[in-house]
Each structure stands twice: as structure tokens, then as C-alpha cells.
Symmetry: D3
Subunit: 244 residues, 6 copies
């Protein structure tokens, strides 16, 4: 019923989230020749554009800037990007928005899904996005749900890392080696001009998670001193034919 | 420093645990041509041999029976088995026992470790075995620990399923497809003659976990209606180069 | 203010849930001569009727089939059944639906309430039903809530078992012996013709929970080898005059 | 194999714990004509006798005082009491002490067991006592464990309330109505002369838990304004033939 | 951008909550000469006015009574009080209500925020109020959120104590000494005439929490035998320049 | 009974832990003129001296090196340091070791205690040290415990940050501003010559925790862009006279 082409779907509350938090995974998928689709539910125009507001820019102008930045970043990662323009701060879950996501699931038929974790005391939009991403995934699986396309399979879901992981009950159970993909991630981060202070911050984080990649790896996996990593939380049990 | 041969190490409190709980993983490893080593800390002579006691058998006789059964079961799975004869009910953790385990880690150099979960309100020996298995793994990693062989790498650890999973805080995060290996597991179970009522019980469990394998699998993985499964809890984060 | 007639109220998201998950408790109540009322918030027409959709049936036809099956199953258990036809996949919580439930609470005056657990990563309708059932119970207790009838007492609430219990944080703290009631449950299951593969699955589960009934029972309670069980999670503290 | 006489076994770290924390349950059992046996692992001579130490009393004198107080309190409750004199602050778990408890389990054949919760950041002796009580209960169940008497059944275990419940992860799931038994509990408390400030403290607590008894009770259970309560945490699932 | 005047903001679901649960903190702030603003989202007219309903009073009359009581209580504590009259049982979260709260945050510019905990199985209005209070706090921090005034800083949030703390996952991590403020709290409680049985109940609670204040205090802090306390749960990490 | 001089006691499993994890808190205390005492239970000679072992050094030589490094680091922080030389990998808890700690508590009379968190799947010595530090603190409070000096008060305990915080259930609830003290911490780190790669790692961590200090601070606290931080977990409830 489903094709077997690997495809990555990323559901992001704001226009920048997918870069900082999952840029390595996205770039790695693209580098393997896989399709990667990013859905930005909002532009982060109110809640994540403080600099632009302080400079006196208007709402539409800010949205346009954020959109362009996100398009450039997605291109740098090798991903498609779509904007649902649902508004932020707050991002309000609606039936319609969930339905749009169901249709995207049915169309993209992802084999892997990435989104925010379900808890974030610093930002209500992030869990709201995650809940919609998860709800839509379940709805898309039902043959009886009225949307074009075949029912979805059961793609695994991974939560990407929030800004203050411990406060978000974020306990990584997957450490992704993004060493090869990191150059593309850095380039994508540099597309987000207004948040230049974050470039080094997230480079340092990649180094820190890279150290954990090495510490948790089995023997002889050949990690080097400049290993970079990203941390994820797998939401559903892993299905496998080999323990490793 | 470490070789790259895959090797499975199973640390089991009693002589039967490895069969019911991890027989599929062990047989699968053996079928892939990998080394599998089972360590039975005790024979389960006091706590898991009720039938023999009711029949009036003596302690040494019971130990001999359990040993022979476990040897046969290990052979059916394709694994080596070692008995540390540390006594059960209670299995008392000691420095010496942990040191024996360190030496086995250094010798076997496992790439995967299986043991009991850390909580079991029905059986104190199980968590005791798990704590020793985990402690020994960390000690074996230290170059300064005084034991023969090279320091261990960082093999992943998986907890196998206890008898009453929910009461043991056992939330499976890995579902292993053991369909191919199940015939060997069944054969190994049948080596444990005194516990015949368990053969069907654990066959049913394999079916149930198999249903979950299918439900949680990504699309098009080709699971069939007689898929069999085993459930595991990964203790350390998974390290990977690809999310899947 | 309240009568003292025991009455069981079951709030079920879809038309089949009450059979698989709580059929034993319902049949047992009916066999004791107690009133049992099942409320199906939806027919499960979209999310739990895959076979009918694959056969090309239409929405209204499917709802009619599911309704008839549920009526038959309820009859087999000895329970009344009501259908609120609120739609599924998604089941959307509304003030009106909660108000309908309040009115049912006030009318039925249940002494025991059964519903889904609050967490289910595989099915958003289940927790939605549970939250409405719990909210309505609290509202029905308030004399100031504008609905006919006397304020509700404080009936205990039990969550019945989800399909993948460990993934739903379902840790049973009540094991119900349903040995006597099981024949009725099996008969009710067989009313759900489209889900024949579930009959044996839930019979096996009853056996498995029956084993746990025996293992956790106090001495000399006389359980036999064919003891059947259902697992529940008590939501509020048990009030009792005797520890047992 | 086991008799069917109800019997209550209470495992208490120090000589006073059983009075403050479980006096109501003990008195209620005695008032029902059931056997109640209290085991005090220590006298609480170092850690819970501050007043006596400040008065300059010596160790043996303090132990004698605490013993006499506990004997009087047990008598007021209608319970037998035994002292294992294992020392406190710290109470050190040993094989021998656990073996003594196994023998008591086999002899008393309790149908209900009460002990401390497993967490107490204010007092290490309490969890130590609980772990030994739980370990011994499991050992006593094994026919192969070398101790006189028949193997134990599976008596339920309840943790009684610690001094600062929230800090001890103590979430009561059983609220016991001790209204009838409270007079005996108060009398027993008054046997502990050195801790007079606790008499009112634990009377107030009984009132507070009594309010919760009423709030959580089902309708028409006839609780009055002077209902007294004790809070417990059930450790194993409740086995029952009726949800209530 | 923000002034440095300390100001306390209390978000309360019903008209009485702030008195029973946070009266000491409010009075203490007022006694230090700080501004204290209480927002009552509803009057508790349906869910917390049983006595008035039983006396046959009407909805508007009850609201007027509750309002007057709350005004008197606030005055006794030295606080301003505002009523949003959003209705209770259920208190329904809306965008408009959250927006009203954002505007209050921007106007009051609180340095400390108090509200209900996020879990309460006995009362859905309490968590609803808490979620709105938390959401509004985050929105008020965004310069892009369209409301008058400057963006909010990051005031700490404390959850006050619910009626049955253990059932609400309420684990106090702050114990506030309210000894000096207690007389004012008692006076405020006495303004709530319809709930006279609560006056002693919450006085006893203050004594109990006062005992815990003393037990958990560092040495030589000079607590006396009549120390009164209130318990709180800090939601965000404490920021400090000195560990103490 | 207790003096009122502030004093900091740090209980560290190995010789280096106190520097990386709590160097800022220690230096800050010393800069305020307070006494700071560090207890190293072991030198970390086996488990945390890989470089020396690879260079072929012997056990006693390594212990001497680690001791000298730690003495230098403590001096750089302004702290006293004591070595109990209890051995590492494993650090085995004993009655004698706990008694030594009790005596230190009684002598130093700390007003603040720092130690490892209770969970660390990567290093069993860390929780072992924490448990002993906590047990000894409780024992030292008892007037009946046989050790010189007055009974201890109730100093707060803070767990310092482990290497992989999320895997150790480390959820910081205190963020300490160490900006002023950071120069001393860096100097102390540089005393640990064999672990040069850690200097920058822990400097980056201080920056990261500094960002969180700023994000979680109340308004107008004047944090600058080079704010440095350390994260802690408070174990007992905070006692305070003012919420802030």
C-alpha cells in the first residue's frame, strides 16, 4: 500500500526551529538522496523575532523576512519547506490545521517524522505543534479518515532537542552522529541572520552531543575528535531485527 | 583496542531466565554466526525449582538438574553457557562476583549485553543480577581496573522482559522481530521440562509482542501474521548514523 | 441524597472498546444483578472499522453495522448501551458532549465508573474520552451545576486496559477475577464479527491476566488453573474499612 | 497449604513507628479478633530518642524505656510485639536479619503486611526496614528456602505514612477509615510519653486523612464529621472479584 | 525595560482559593510594603458554593456574595483583587481570557507569580487556571505580542498547595515561613463565612507545614514552636548568586 | 547548639569531581570569606586516570599525582581538601567510611552540602558517594549517634551536575550565577593537567548554564552576556521567608 521510498517529515512550530534542532538529521537525509519535507506551522513572527520588533519592523515584513530565511536554510539543508502560516504566540491547535497535516502525511508518506517534544515550560507553541503532528499521524493511518491518498504506515517519531532539555523532560534515547552533515547545518544556521549569537551556541551543542555520541557508542565505531551530534527522543518503540 | 567481532553477553540470575526472556535474541545472534555467551549467576535452585522441591529432591540434585536443562537449552539456542553458582533466594551481590563478571566482560568483549531490568517487586534476585551486570560493565571499561585483557568499549545494554512487566516499570522501547529464531527458542523452552506450563505461556507472549512489532513497524517491512517478538528496554541512548 | 443501588457506568470512545477491555467487569456486574450502562461516544466508524472501509462500505452503513454489533454485545453482557454519535478520528471534546455526560451521571448515579486511561500514543480518541468522562464526573458532583437530578457522590473510577499497556503508562493496580463472567465476555466478543482475530487475542490476554490474579492473590483464595482476569488502574484512592 | 486465619504483620524500623503510622489499622484488626504481630527491628534508641539523650540517659537505659513504651502501646492496640534489637542509626541490613524475618513470616503466615515506604530522605532506617520486609516476604514464598514452616502465600503489602509524605514519594492509594479504632490508637500514642507533642500532631493527621476518606468515598457510605483516617500505599496490585 | 518594584501576582480559579492556599504569602508581601494583585478568574459560584445553593440562593446572588467575601479577604491580606467573571465548573480556557491575563501581566509587571498546580483530579478548573496563567506569562514576554506595555521579564512561578496534595503530584520544594503573616491570613479566612469549617482545617495545615519549615531549615534560624508555614512548588529553576 | 558561621562541605567521589562540577560554588563561597571543605573519598586512581595508566604509571604514583593536582585545584578555589583514600572503581560504601563522614559533618558543621546526584548509569562511584554523604548527614543529626561534637542541624544539600545530565535524571532546579567566581574555577581546572580537553568543555558548559541563568532570572537582575553558571538540584525543600 505504501511505497518504500524513505522520506523525512519535519513539523516545526516556528520558521527557525528545524534548523537549530534538526538541521543535522535533515541534511544527512538529503545527503543520502532522500526526500526531506519541512512544515513550518508559523513563521515565529511574534514570539521568535524580537530583534525585528525592536528595530520597528511590522508584522507582514517580519513574516516575509522569516520566510525567506527559512527558505534559504531549507535549501542549504537540501529540504523542501512549506509554510502553513497558522500564527504564533500562541499557535492555536485547530481541526483545520490538523487536517492540513493529515493531508501532508498522506502525500509525503514519511518513513520518519521529527517534531518538538511534548513538554516545554518556556514555549507553549512547541508542545502545541507536537500534539498536532502526533494527532495527525494517527488520523492519517485510518483508512476511514476522509483525505486523499493511501493510509499512512507507522513511521517512527523522534522529538528534537528543546532549548533547555532538562526542563522539558527531554531524556535523549537516540544520539545521532551528524559529523558528515554538520557543514550543511552550519551553513543553514548562517541563513538565520538575526540570530547570529545562536550559531556558535548550537555549534557548541553539536560538539557536546558529539562527545556523548562517542561515549555511548559501541567499540570500534571510529568516531573522531570532531564528531558532531544531535540528540533525539524516540516516541514509539524501535522495531528491529537485530539488537545493536 | 577492541576487536570488531559481534558478541552477545547475557547475564541471567537463574538458570532458566535467559530462555524465556531472551531466547529469541540469543538464537538470532547465533543464526547470524555470532558468538553468544550466557552467564547464569545461580541455578535458581531454591527460588525457581518449586516442582523439584515438592518432589522431595535435594539441593545438589536440583542444581544438577537445572544445570543440565540450562546446558541443553543453551545448546538449542546456539550459545555457550557458564554457571557461577553464586546461590539464589537470595542472590547476594559481592565484590568477588562482580569481579568475576568483569573478567568475563574483558574476555568476551561483548558488543551487546542483555540482563534483567532494575526493578522487580516479585523477585529480588533479578535486580541484584542486573546491578552486578551493570556495575561490572562500567568497571571493565576502566584501564586502571586490575583484570586481564583490554578495557571494554561501551556495548549497549538491553533489559529483557520480566514476568509482570508493568509492575517492574518495564516500558519496552525496542521490539525485536524473532520470527526466524522462534523455532529455536521453542526448542530451548522444551528443554526446561519442569516448567511445561510456561512453554505455551511464552509462546503466547511472543505472539503478542509480535503483534506489537507489526503495529509499531514502519511501512512495508513485510511482517506476516505469524510474526513473533521479544520486548526490550534499552538502557543507554542508541547511537546511530541514521534515524529509523 | 443518593440511592444505594450499585450501578456501573462505562464511558467508551468507540463502539467496541467496552467489550474487549471491560467486558468481564460488565458481565460480572450484570450477573450480580446490578445495573450496567455503557456510553459509546462514537461508533468507531472511521478509526476502528478498517475492514468495512476496505470492503467499500459507506459511512452511514458502517455506523449502522457498528451500532448493531455493539447492541448485541451489550445484550450479551447484560448491559444497556447508549450512543452519543459524536464522531471519531478525531473524537473532539466539546462543552455539549461533557454536558450530556453530566446528565447521564446524574441520571444513572453510578457507584463505579470505567473508562480509558489518560495516555495513549496510538489513539487520541481514548484519552479524549477519558478526560470528558472525568470532567463530567466532577461537574456532576456540584450542586450548582445546572442539570437535572441530585449531585453525584464520589464513585471510584477505574481505567481499563489499552492495547499496548506499557506504552500508555498503564500500570495495573487492580486485577479483577472474571472467571465466572468470562463466558459472557467471549460471547460478547463474538458479536463483533469484523474483528474475529481479536477474539483469541483477548482470550489469551484474559488468561495472562488470570495468571497474575493468582500470583498476586493472598493465600487460599482458591483460584484455579483457568482463572481469567482483567486489569484496571484505580484513579482515586480506595476507601476502605479493612486492609486486604 | 496456608491456613485461612487473617493475620496482620507489621515491620517497623523503630519502636514507635507502628503506633504513629499504623496504630489504627492494627487496632482495627485486633478489634475484629484478628491476630496482629508487630516486629520492631530496633528500639530507635539512637535516632528517635533525642529527649532521653538530652536528659543524659545511657544507651541500655534508653533501650529499656523504649521497649517498655512499645510493649504498652502494642498492648493498647491489642497486638503482639517482638524486638529484634538490630540497632538503629543506621539500621544495617544483613542476611541474618532478613532470615529472622523469613522465619517470622513462615510462623505468623500473615494475610496482610504493613511496613515503611521505600523512600525517605530524612531517615535511612525506614527504607532499610522496608527493603528487608519485602525481601523476606519473597524469600518466605519459596519452598526451597531453608526455614521451618510452609511457604508463604502472597499477602498484600501496604506502606504506612511517613512523616513528610510528599518528600517520600508517598502517594496514598488506600484511605483507611479508622474511626472506630481511633480511641485505641490515641491510647497507644499516649504510651509514648517522651513524644507528647506528637499526640496532637497525629490526631490532627487522622482528622485530615478522615476528611479525605469522606471526599473519596462512594455515595452513601455514612461517614460522619469525626471520621478518622490513615493513609496507605498498596505495593502490589489489588486482587478482587468486584470493582468498588 | 522593567521596573524593579517587587509585585506579586496571584491567579486564582475561584474567589476563595487565594485565601486558603496563598494567604500567608500575600499578607507577607503586603507587610513588606509590596504590591499584591489577585486575579479571580471566576467566583466559584457553581463549584465552590454548595452551602449557598443548598440554601436556595440564585446564581447572581451567589456571585455577589462570593465577590464581597473575596474583596474583604483581599483587604484583610492587603491585596488588590480583580474578578474576570469567566464562569466556573467548568472554567473554560479561551484566547480572550488568556489575552486579558497577558494585559494584566504587562500592567502589573509581577516579580513573583502564584497559581494552582497543573494536576488536580478533583477539580478541573484549577489546572485550567494554571495553564492559562502560565501561557499568558510566556506570551507577555514576547515583544511581538500585541498588548500595551513592555514585555514581561521572567518572574518565577510558584504553585500553591491543593486540597489533596499527594493526589495532585504536589511535591513541595519551597516551604515558606508565614509566622508573621499568619494573623492576617486567619483574619482573611474568617471573611469567608460560608466555609467556617475550613478555618481550623487550614490553621492546622499551617501548623503542619510550620513543623516542616523547622525540620528542613538550616541550623540556628530561630524558628519557634508556633512557626506557621505554606508549601509551594517552584516551576522554573531558581536563579541565585548563593547556594543556601 | 550550632554556630552560625556559613561553611560549605563538598563530598566528591574522585579527586577531580569537585573542580569540574562545583568549582564555581566553592570559589564563590571562598570569595565571600566562608569556609569550604572538600572531601575526596578516593583519588579516582583507577577510573578517572586513563591517561596515566596508558603512560604506564603505577597505582601509587597515580594516586600521588591526583592528590597533588587536587590540592592545587582546591587551593586555587580557596578550599581545604581531605582525602579518605577509600579506593575507586568501585568505591565500596562501608560503615567505617560513613562514620568518617559523620565525624567530618560534626566537626565542620556545614550550612550547605554539595555532592553527586543519586543516579549515574555511567559511573557507580558517584551515586555511592552521594548515598554515603546523605546517610552520614542524617546520622550526624542524631544526638544519640556516637561521635564527637554537637548534632548537626539540617543543612540543605545540592547535587552538582553529572557528565550526562539527562541520563542521570538531573533536572536542575537551581541555577547558580558564578560569573565572579569563574576565573578561579578556570584556574583550578588548569591544575588538572591530564584532562586538558575538559578545560574548554566545562568552560562551554558554564557559558551554556549562564545563558539559562539569564533566561530564568527575574527582571532587571543585570546579567551580562558573559554570565557563567552552574546547575544544581536541591534535594530537600527550600526554606525561606520570602518567595523570590
Amino acid at each position: 500500500m505504501n511505497n518504500t521510498e524513505p522520506a523525512l517529515l519535519v513539523v516545526s512550530a516556528h520558521a527557525g526551529d528545524f534548523v537549530w534542532r534538526a538541521g543535522g538529521a535533515i541534511a544527512a537525509a538529503a545527503q543520502r538522496g532522500e526526500r526531506a519535507v519541512v512544515v513550518c506551522l508559523s513563521y515565529g513572527e511574534r514570539g521568535e523575532s524580537a530583534k525585528a520588533w525592536r528595530e520597528g519592523k511590522g508584522l507582514e515584513e517580519i513574516k516575509a523576512i522569516r520566510r525567506e530565511e527559512a527558505e534559504n536554510a531549507a535549501a542549504a539543508l537540501g529540504a523542501e519547506v512549506r509554510f502553513l502560516d497558522a500564527g504564533d504566540y500562541p499557535l492555536v491547535p485547530t481541526r483545520e490545521l490538523v487536517d492540513q497535516l493529515v493531508q501532508i502525511y498522506r502525500e509525503v508518506n514519511p518513513t520518519v517524522v521529527l517534531t518538538h517534544p511534548l513538554v516545554d515550560p518556556y514555549n507553549g507553541d512547541h508542545p502545541a505543534a507536537a500534539r498536532m503532528a502526533l494527532d495527525a499521524r494517527v488520523l492519517a493511518q485510518a483508512i476511514g479518515y476522509d483525505a486523499p491518498g493511501d493510509p499512512l504506515g507507522a513511521p517512527p517519531v523522534f522529538f528534537f532537542e528543546p532549548h533547555q532539555p532538562e526542563q522539558c523532560d527531554f531524556k535523549p534515547n537516540v544520539l545521532l552522529d551528524i559529523t558528515e552533515a554538520f557543514a550543511a547545518k552550519r551553513k543553514a544556521m548562517e541563513c538565520l541572520a538575526a540570530q547570529q549569537h545562536m550559531w556558535d551556541y548550537y555549534t557548541d551543542l553539536a560538539t557536546r552531543r558529539g562527545v556523548q555520541v562517542k561515549r555511548n557508542a559501541g567499540p570500534n565505531l571510529g568516531f573522531t575528535t570532531d564528531t558532531k551530534g544531535e540528540a533525539y527522543m524516540r516516541y514509539y518503540p524501535q522495531v528491529t531485527t537485530t539488537l545493536a
